[in-house]
Symmetry: D2
Subunit: 338 residues, 4 copies
Amino acid sequence: MLIVMQPNATDEDVRSVVAKLKSIGAEAHVSKGKFRTVVGAIGDDTEIATLPLEALDGVERVIPVLKPYKIVAKEAQDGLTIVEIGTAKIGGEHFAVVAGPCAVENREQTLTSAKAVAASGATILRGEAFKPRTSPYAFQGLGKEALEIMKDASRDTGLPFVAEVLDARDVELVAEYADALRVGARNMQNFTLLSEVGKQHKPVILKRGMNSTIEEWLLAAEYIAKEGNESIVLCERGIRTYEPATRFTLDISAVPVLRQLTHLPIIVDPSHAAGRSYAVGPLARAAIAVGADGVMIDVHPCPEEALCDGAQAILPHEFERLMGELRQIARVMGRVIG
Amino acid sequence: MLIVMQPNATDEDVRSVVAKLKSIGAEAHVSKGKFRTVVGAIGDDTEIATLPLEALDGVERVIPVLKPYKIVAKEAQDGLTIVEIGTAKIGGEHFAVVAGPCAVENREQTLTSAKAVAASGATILRGEAFKPRTSPYAFQGLGKEALEIMKDASRDTGLPFVAEVLDARDVELVAEYADALRVGARNMQNFTLLSEVGKQHKPVILKRGMNSTIEEWLLAAEYIAKEGNESIVLCERGIRTYEPATRFTLDISAVPVLRQLTHLPIIVDPSHAAGRSYAVGPLARAAIAVGADGVMIDVHPCPEEALCDGAQAILPHEFERLMGELRQIARVMGRVIG
Amino acid sequence: MLIVMQPNATDEDVRSVVAKLKSIGAEAHVSKGKFRTVVGAIGDDTEIATLPLEALDGVERVIPVLKPYKIVAKEAQDGLTIVEIGTAKIGGEHFAVVAGPCAVENREQTLTSAKAVAASGATILRGEAFKPRTSPYAFQGLGKEALEIMKDASRDTGLPFVAEVLDARDVELVAEYADALRVGARNMQNFTLLSEVGKQHKPVILKRGMNSTIEEWLLAAEYIAKEGNESIVLCERGIRTYEPATRFTLDISAVPVLRQLTHLPIIVDPSHAAGRSYAVGPLARAAIAVGADGVMIDVHPCPEEALCDGAQAILPHEFERLMGELRQIARVMGRVIG
Amino acid sequence: MLIVMQPNATDEDVRSVVAKLKSIGAEAHVSKGKFRTVVGAIGDDTEIATLPLEALDGVERVIPVLKPYKIVAKEAQDGLTIVEIGTAKIGGEHFAVVAGPCAVENREQTLTSAKAVAASGATILRGEAFKPRTSPYAFQGLGKEALEIMKDASRDTGLPFVAEVLDARDVELVAEYADALRVGARNMQNFTLLSEVGKQHKPVILKRGMNSTIEEWLLAAEYIAKEGNESIVLCERGIRTYEPATRFTLDISAVPVLRQLTHLPIIVDPSHAAGRSYAVGPLARAAIAVGADGVMIDVHPCPEEALCDGAQAILPHEFERLMGELRQIARVMGRVIG
């Protein structure tokens, strides 16, 4: 932690900062420049971070030097984490394709979509039981019935499935059915949900909040890991910017940035980012080329009948063609799908 | 709802759109321009909004004409809503000053702060028991013990108090103690929490998500109102932008915009927006001058000892001076504090 | 300048950083923490900033400690700058009201508007001759003819006027007529224009780029000041965010932030920020209450005939009422209008 | 153009809108819904757009239906534009690699870099003579001398070169030397510069403003095209968002979006977007995979000596490896480099 003093800070101000640091057992190195004094704090950064140093007289700003997350940091382990969801692997050389309808609407739509994506080579199924919807008047998901349908789709296709959990009270129910849990963008900073998800023993796909920095996202992962669950997959799904041409702006750069910061695998959801089916294929290709460990794609047999996000779903035959492109780029990248 | 067709849309495409609308009992007016055809959908917009019209062939985009919220819309009632929290009123001519420490850290800090803000003329106390923190290693609040301390502070000062609720499972507990519940920015789209809060009988202060549009915010309020609780106060607290000089960018324009859209009262939190104590007074003055119905301000007797957000807390004597300024501007604006 | 080394930086890496700093005569203080080494660079920061330190092996990031601007920095002089535009003053206790039509469309519209705002107490006229328009098919301004009309309006009302300059080749022409030049948001980083404007002897109103940080804005002011012209007024006019309800998001917090950083006066343009006339009055009141040194307001005798930005112009009688409110808040703030 | 009336708009208000439209020869279709009346305007949209319809009583909002650009719109021609810069082609099956140092610092650095990128297969050289710098104290480029060095580099390698133009007064000079002109992000809405560039006969690479929407970008291209120059290449270079981990956020989705809207070729600059060399390769691969028509990459023989943007430059041997990856993905995408 570096504490930059104001130009007019007094010696007394500097002494207060030093005393504050010493009060928790940290060391302080004072470095006087011509215009500014900088105090370097050496000790347990997590503890130092709890001090309200910016409220002390004469302090201009406090600059953290160490990363605030620990378990999920790249330095925390040798090599990359490979997460296993049922038979599927994500990370290392393994590139995952999570696919299926956005929401489970009924048995037929779900099984049709599941069989189609399985036939084209998807490695994990998606299909939601609980849907977070901006409007209270929109379709909110079928709940437990949807989980049963997904379980059947999983049995029929031999693929594991992932399902979103919206409420800490539903964690056990969803974990009973699904092979992996998903925490959605709107819940990325629902800290009690993160803790509950961290206490069970299923892998977790953690979507980035649409307004979250990469650092906040890693801290959300840290909430899960801190409870003992380190099987976490990060999923970039677009951030909110001023550009209206797409639903969100896919932050493709997050993939190489995260590769520098964490050992966790990183996948990309082009469907929710773009919000428009025509951009899903191009963005999925960009994801594998940039070095992501997987993609998550909405596929619907009949988007014009979808109860949720129909405009972004691609058709089964479009998915089939996309899988062909992904396989070719995977070879260039030295990856295997599955 | 207006459906704009693509330049190359066929008559068949237009007929499909019309058929889709008729399938749910809506009417369709087709208007052919030189370059584009536009279909106007007339009927229950909430129901029309559930149709995946953007997934239909030949559709370029779908433009909602009606507001997607109903109960909280300005047109839904004559005049403005005045929310009562204990003895305090918010809205109409009543300007509320919610003040106190960000977090309840211990009995002494809380009572000192509460008495100071009460003496200066605050109308409602704040002080949190459960704190949503970006890092799992930061102080998370004292929970039930804090609620008991706040209850005592309330008794000592005669002022009602508001407390944040983070988890649907805690709604009853917090409602048992507090005079009003607060839903924080990170939970603005925690829809199950919104519904639970809507089912109890205490007023709710709903903070804007730091990435939420005004429309999404009103839809979050609609989630609460739909369960029967219409005592809702909206609280602007800054949105996330590229500017690093403040913690968030206070969207002061949200106040006049909301005045056009809703009958609910609107308050402003300059402390969390700015993140720096020197800006709190100026922004609080801006809030009353722009026409807000109240402000929420962090006051701490000793910010350099604060366990949470010390850099943004103002001192009791600074709060005292600010109250004097607010009273003078209130007179210009035809408002009373309290 | 602080140079934070990567966790795995070698002693050789640190020595390279030190050598690089010494090569330009700067001193280097090396501070080894448990996890990171930090090198403090002491010397001429402007020169140190030219070193590509982030490209050196083992460097994680470079953190500037000193502000990159000098002449416009608060520390550069005792007290605040008061800018004089003709008979009007901006800064210190003087609050300026710049008003008039957005664009000069014809003589009658301009004179009507000018007389109306003068009668209500505006202190400076506005009315543009050259208009930067997003579309090449929109009205681009009357050029020199408009400057002549504004000169007449100025003579008739006894008020000075300000006019925008878009192109370095027009600086002399505009300076010949106008009492102050204005550099618009889209040209805030048109560095050759800034230099030209800095070379002449008229005050300059420098609008903030809609995507610019406060630091970049002050550096743009520094470009002007560096050429010898320190009569600069900063004008906040809204920044681009994801919120669509207003044309831009007025960053009202920029006023108190700038007050910490610069001695230059700061005004606010609520008209271009909001883009909607109903919000102009409330935001102008917020501007004076937050501590700004002036406002700039579009007033049009007949907005429904305006060739440019009619939706944001207020009517002369609305301006008259607003002036009354501003005068009352000015008294509370200890300011005089004029 | 669709004009949505307010809920309480009167018949008189609707008649005023209709009269306004008719006054310029447009037709008006009035469609009365249960809650809102919508007026559809049919005629020359460019002319209709000049009407201040939003300033009329009773109007809630005006929704453009047609795109505001014409010459650069996809519908304006059959097939895609292929731009020729010297011997290089951009667009269609041709993928361009523009590479070289960010700024021309001296002859040796420039020739070394130019030969290296030519040897690895770059198709166009870059190297700037005039640099727009945020700080007036930073290196501003060598001007004419740099153009002469680049001319020599071009002769030595047989590759054409592109150079940025900052000021309308320099357009002729730069066009005399360079094979293509570049308009930088900070000048994307420098409308007088756009017009000058449109009047000469060299191809133009138009970078996206870091705060510009895709629509504003196409309108900037329209400014150039309107003067007769349709050899325009659009260059995505990152937009400004709240995320601090990269210098800008590369909006990779802009590529498929633009493909729907324009016939112009689109390239991507990963160097300026990321601001960090480690991300340049991954983002360049993403660019070709998403369907872009080229990339522009900073390559410097010795980044730790660079006078400008050293942190984002990659080394010649890193560029060599990247070219190998791009060639392989080009094959998958059915593209040729060159």
